[in-house]
């Protein structure tokens, strides 16, 4: 028998960006909130030894222990799904702050087009533009309605940036000025301007100058040390939940964090949740936490898995396209890039910051004409200077052997003589891309793992080839002596790292027929359950997702406060 604890107003499952933001906003309003986090506590002092590429980037210090839980994967329904036994394609965050600790800090807003992708595509190109099986749909909210929440997230995190000339309308400028421009960023800026494109400094959560946010949280400026992605910030300069929203929640006295608490079921009777069941992984004890409101803010895969394992919501059926939990899994097209080798120039590539870079959106969303193209949407194109680390960075000209004398000489010679321009392509959902429970493989508790059925489509291959050509044109303008363009996407392969921008599975929308949650993140089928994260995205855009996840979290917090007063379905 599980130990039953006293009831609280709200229980939050997973304390990363979404959980932290919601905890802070609800606790400020006086609600009693418990945050359950399956990993350990994290704090800035943990990162004293963080400049360790092997430990953090290759031994996955900050990531979920796959021996306890992973995902299974297959390209299509004809293949047996097998477990992702080792890390590759994406990395699952773990511990207090979640993926918000190890992110790079690139903080974009999705485009107005994204939120109304279906109707805007049909409006401009007609119905036939959307190929059979592509299940794009509007998000049930517009960019203009989302704008105040983007603004709230950016001010909380202190985002450093300058206006995107091709982005949605802003109510205010970024709270801090853009990051410094390095010589390689200036080269990209000059080249894209010459090509009549519209460069802007990548919006950055790394913080260009000391900043105090509206909650009174003060942080110091980024030092460009080059260890962001896969690392925590030893300065607390990079915005993460541990140095921003969690202390605000704690200060209210209304928020309690329980780490090492692995939530396994959402408990429910009728069409309402009653709380959650979790295991204290330090003792093995099963504990029931009753609550008036349950909020799921873990990563994409676990949000879906918890709902399915709890038999809450209508599971998606790929054959009929009905049901919603697990629907519209999408990813990203991280192919389409150009690598430039310079014989007579050297760059301080080892220096950088996770969100140091310059972006153009001329080929993103519907910012360009798709009438004669065999794909919709597009991707951001950027130069990123995240800090080249020596294990990861061994680019050599094609034809160089992968080992031996020539490899050594070229990998050393070109370490500080290469620049990369890369596309981040959007990912459209298809009827046969989805998440469900694996029939065979289990986690450490014996619960089914989530099963991922996904492959790249013709849409993705066309997009990759298109973005690659654009990247090549920019690199040529940047004067590289040798340019290698990667444009062949190939099948989706879970082995090489690509992007931790997995999306969908608990998608938002205007109707319970086609979506799992409404635009407050409220589950249509259980009004006191809210689910927030990139799992809410009906498709994935050509941007890093955190800015939009953050905005949706503020929106959901507002919805929960409304719901706690009046109850009922909010829209």
């Amino acid at each position: 028998m599980a130990k039953k604890l006293p009831k609280v107003d709200v229980v939050i499952v997973g304390v990363g960006w979404a959980g932290g933001i919601i905890a802070a906003e609800l606790a400020k309003q006086g609600l009693q909130v418990v945050g359950l986090e399956r990993g350990k506590e994290r704090k800035t002092e943990d990162y004293f030894m963080v400049h360790d590429e092997l430990r953090y980037a290759y031994r996955y210090e900050l990531f979920q222990d796959l021996s306890k839980e992973t995902v299974t994967f297959r390209s299509n329904e004809k293949v047996r799904a097998l477990p992702m036994r080792q890390y590759g394609s994406f990395l699952l965050g773990d511990g207090l702050g979640g993926a918000g600790v190890h992110w790079n800090g690139q903080t974009y807003r999705f485009l107005p087009y994204d939120f109304q992708i279906q109707s805007k595509t049909v409006e401009r190109y007609g119905k036939n533009k959307i190929p059979a099986g592509m299940t794009i749909q509007d998000w049930g909210i517009t960019y203009d309605e989302m704008e105040p929440y983007f603004d709230a997230f950016e001010k909380m995190a202190g985002i450093s940036g300058e206006e995107n000339p091709l982005g949605g309308k802003r109510s205010d400028k970024y709270p801090t000025p853009p990051m410094k421009y390095s010589p390689q960023m200036k080269m990209f800026q000059d080249a894209t301007k010459k090509l009549n494109l519209h460069p802007y400094a990548t919006p950055s959560a790394n913080l260009s100058e000391a900043y105090t946010n509206p909650d009174g949280i003060a942080r110091t400026a980024c030092q460009y040390c080059g260890f962001c992605e896969r690392f925590g910030c030893e300065y607390g300069a990079k915005a993460d939940p541990v140095v921003t929203v969690i202390p605000v929640a704690n200060k209210t006295g209304k928020f309690q964090i329980r780490t090492h608490s692995y939530v396994r079921r959402i408990l429910h009777t009728g069409n309402k949740a009653t709380g959650v069941l979790y295991t204290d992984v330090t003792t093995g004890e099963e504990i029931e936490q009753p609550a008036d409101i349950v909020v799921l803010t873990s990563y994409v895969f676990n949000n879906v898995r918890l709902l399915l394992n709890s038999k809450l919501g209508r599971p998606y059926d790929p054959k009929t396209g009905t049901g919603v939990i697990g629907k519209n899994y999408a990813y990203q097209v991280q192919k389409g890039n150009a690598l430039g080798f310079y014989e007579n120039m050297e760059f301080n590539n080892f220096a950088g910051a996770g969100a140091l870079g310059v972006t153009i959106d001329d080929y993103n969303g519907d910012n360009f004409d798709h009438a004669n193209l065999n794909f919709i949407h597009g991707g951001g194109i950027r130069i990123s200077q995240t800090g080249k680390r020596p294990i990861a960075s061994n680019s050599v000209p094609k034809g160089t052997p992968t080992w031996g004398k020539e490899f050594k000489a070229n990998s050393i010679k070109y370490y500080n003589r290469t620049l990369s321009v890369s596309g981040q392509g959007a990912s459209m959902p298809f009827q046969h891309h989805y998440l469900d429970l694996d029939p065979e493989y289990k986690d450490v508790f014996g619960d089914p793992l989530i099963r991922l059925t996904f492959d790249f489509e013709e849409q993705d291959r066309q997009l990759a080839a298109f973005l690659a050509e654009r990247c090549g044109e920019i690199m040529k303008e940047m004067g590289a002596d040798l340019i290698q363009v990667a444009k062949d996407l190939g099948p989706y392969d879970i082995v090489p790292y690509q992007s931790t921008h997995n999306t969908g599975g608990v998608i938002m929308g205007a109707s319970p027929d086609s979506s799992a949650i409404n635009n407050y993140g409220q589950l249509w089928d259980a009004e006191n359950v809210f689910v927030v994260g990139a799992s809410s995205f009906p498709h994935n855009s050509g941007y890093n997702p955190t800015g939009t996840v953050g905005a949706l979290s503020y929106r959901t917090a507002e919805g929960i406060i409304k719901y706690s007063k009046n109850g009922g379905i909010l829209v």
Partner: protein
Amino acid sequence: MSIHNEEESKDQNPSSVTRRKFLKNSGYVVGGAILGGIVGNLLGRPVQENNPSQAAGPTTDYNQALMFFTIEQFRTVEAATERIFPADEIGPGAKDLGVAYFIDHQLSGDWGFNARDYMQGPFYKGEAVQGYQGRLKRREIFDIALQEMNNYSRSKYQKRFYELTGEQQDEVLTAFQNDEVKITTISPSGFFNTLRTATIQGVYADPLYGGNRNMDGWKMKNFPGNQMAYTDIIEDEKLAKIPPKSLKDHVQH
């Protein structure tokens, strides 16, 4: 932030200054591809700082002993990694960088035991895009593969791998890389790729792990290692020449 202040004060610490001066005076100049044999000359001579307790003579590196390999396995790995990342006019190779010790130490811990990988069955042969689906742990794969490398060497050249000429060793490694060796229990190319990756890691990981001896891997690449800030150089057009620091710099007493 407390860490920041601590690091700033460490920068004023006399031993760091001495270290910098030493590197300057020793003629060590980092200049990308042109630094050549200078780094090689530093090889094997631990940098002596102006510290009375260490002034008596070279210290013993107690880290250079074996946690996992037999001596035969060690010699095989040392020879193989040296072919993957050889000594040349640019600087030291895998052997002198301690890469075989690095791999030995890694195999003795979490990585060797696949401690954080999903290793539950059932095991099925999967599609290539589904990744590694074997039941063997890395240390077991090394045991088998190193034995097979020596078997293959004996059958072709009547010698153990580490007794072959460099060219012969390359032929054996290439046969593994291209799956020309027939082994039923492991994937020869899978092993070769793991060995190659581990070699690169041993060359460039912080010296605390036993490779990248004397930070020579970093010096060859002009990677400054563990630095607290690049704010002053991030806008510079010229390649910055910064003597590297290791994580040891954070725990100097």
